[in-house]
Symmetry: none
Subunit: 217 residues, 2 copies
Amino acid sequence: MPVRILVADDHHVVRAGLRALLESKSGWQVCAEASNGREAVEKAVRLKPHVAVIDIAMPLLNGVEATRQIRKLSPNTEVLILTMHDSETLVQEVMEAGASGYVLKDDADRDLISAVESLQQHQPYLSSRASEAASRVSPVPGTPGADYRSGRNRLTPREREILQLLAEGKSNKEVASFLGISVKTAETHRANIMLKMDFHSITELVRYAVRNKIIQS
Amino acid sequence: MPVRILVADDHHVVRAGLRALLESKSGWQVCAEASNGREAVEKAVRLKPHVAVIDIAMPLLNGVEATRQIRKLSPNTEVLILTMHDSETLVQEVMEAGASGYVLKDDADRDLISAVESLQQHQPYLSSRASEAASRVSPVPGTPGADYRSGRNRLTPREREILQLLAEGKSNKEVASFLGISVKTAETHRANIMLKMDFHSITELVRYAVRNKIIQS
DNA sequence: CAATCCCTTAGGGATTCCGCCGAATTCCAA
DNA sequence: TTGGAATTCGGCGGAATCCCTAAGGGATTG
């Protein structure tokens, strides 16, 4: 039985490269490609691949949120995060979102195969540099103090989703029709985001999104 | 006779993807790969490929310098620049360094083939967004093709002034009172900026301002 | 000198967004 | 099972933005 893999990256070139690398391994098959987070979720749910290789920076829905949804809607699909930067908070974040692997794009040629091998057997995999980073953050998952700064300021998944769409330039109306919700709901989410994050204009929101690599400038 | 192509990018994944894309065209052959600028220069000089596809961000020697050296040491090799960002000054810079083509990674799947086709016949190629960008920079006298589309799209001083204020998060009203003009005037300037720069939302304007260091994120 | 172009200025009307209120449903964890 | 958080939706009035049109001044050019 072949290992079926989903590849999600917004650059066609990178997808082609990942496909070439992965399919050089016999018995491995890239069963689908996605160019944004929503497409990744949709195809993961529909095709239930063994492994989903997900880039962080993607339009419409970023890799972290996509991971969260994939893990929820297709629990047997292991998610391997592929990213440019090795930020400690990012490793933390994607692991909490349910990813089982984390590989830097620079190390992809060296680590990608072994990472997918691990994940295919439901073993977590962190590329060396990522695990160094992870070891520096406070471990102990499940601690009640994990959301110490939560309460009023922490955005909900839905809010983060909408934050990205807003930062990408969508209006309330567009967000609403895109997500299939009422304009009023979109407005409410937007207002809550602005309130929680203490933004006073949409441009502050964009700069925040750029700084935090939710979108790229 | 096959078209021989050199591919230089520091990510193995991207190189694999480029190879897959390029070699899907019959008669085209990726004769070498390089993972940094020095290696690219060395292999270009030794193998004299028809076209060199060069990434901007590479270790040891960046794409711009690599281009300069390749054009000097192997004049028959046409250089196609491949990059993430469409910074206006960058287009200018690489063209002066001797590149004949400029393609954004986002557009690679669409434009790469036709770009290489052009370059292989010694015709310059700019991807659509890049040429838009190029048309907006102040034309340098003597640079061929610098002013083929300028004028219409370049911002006036007043517009640049207002662009910054908008990017900083000011509303039309605030811009107006800050500059001592009518709100209506501010609105007109804003509309003209959006039109000239082909922005479709204020967030695009902010990202442009961040990229071009008009504001910082 | 008149014609023309560009920059800057501006208004009217329609549309959309925003802030501030309330409220129903679902979901998850205590 | 229950309480709280998350997500959903609506009204209403004022604010902001968008679309279209256009006038005045200065520089350039025929």
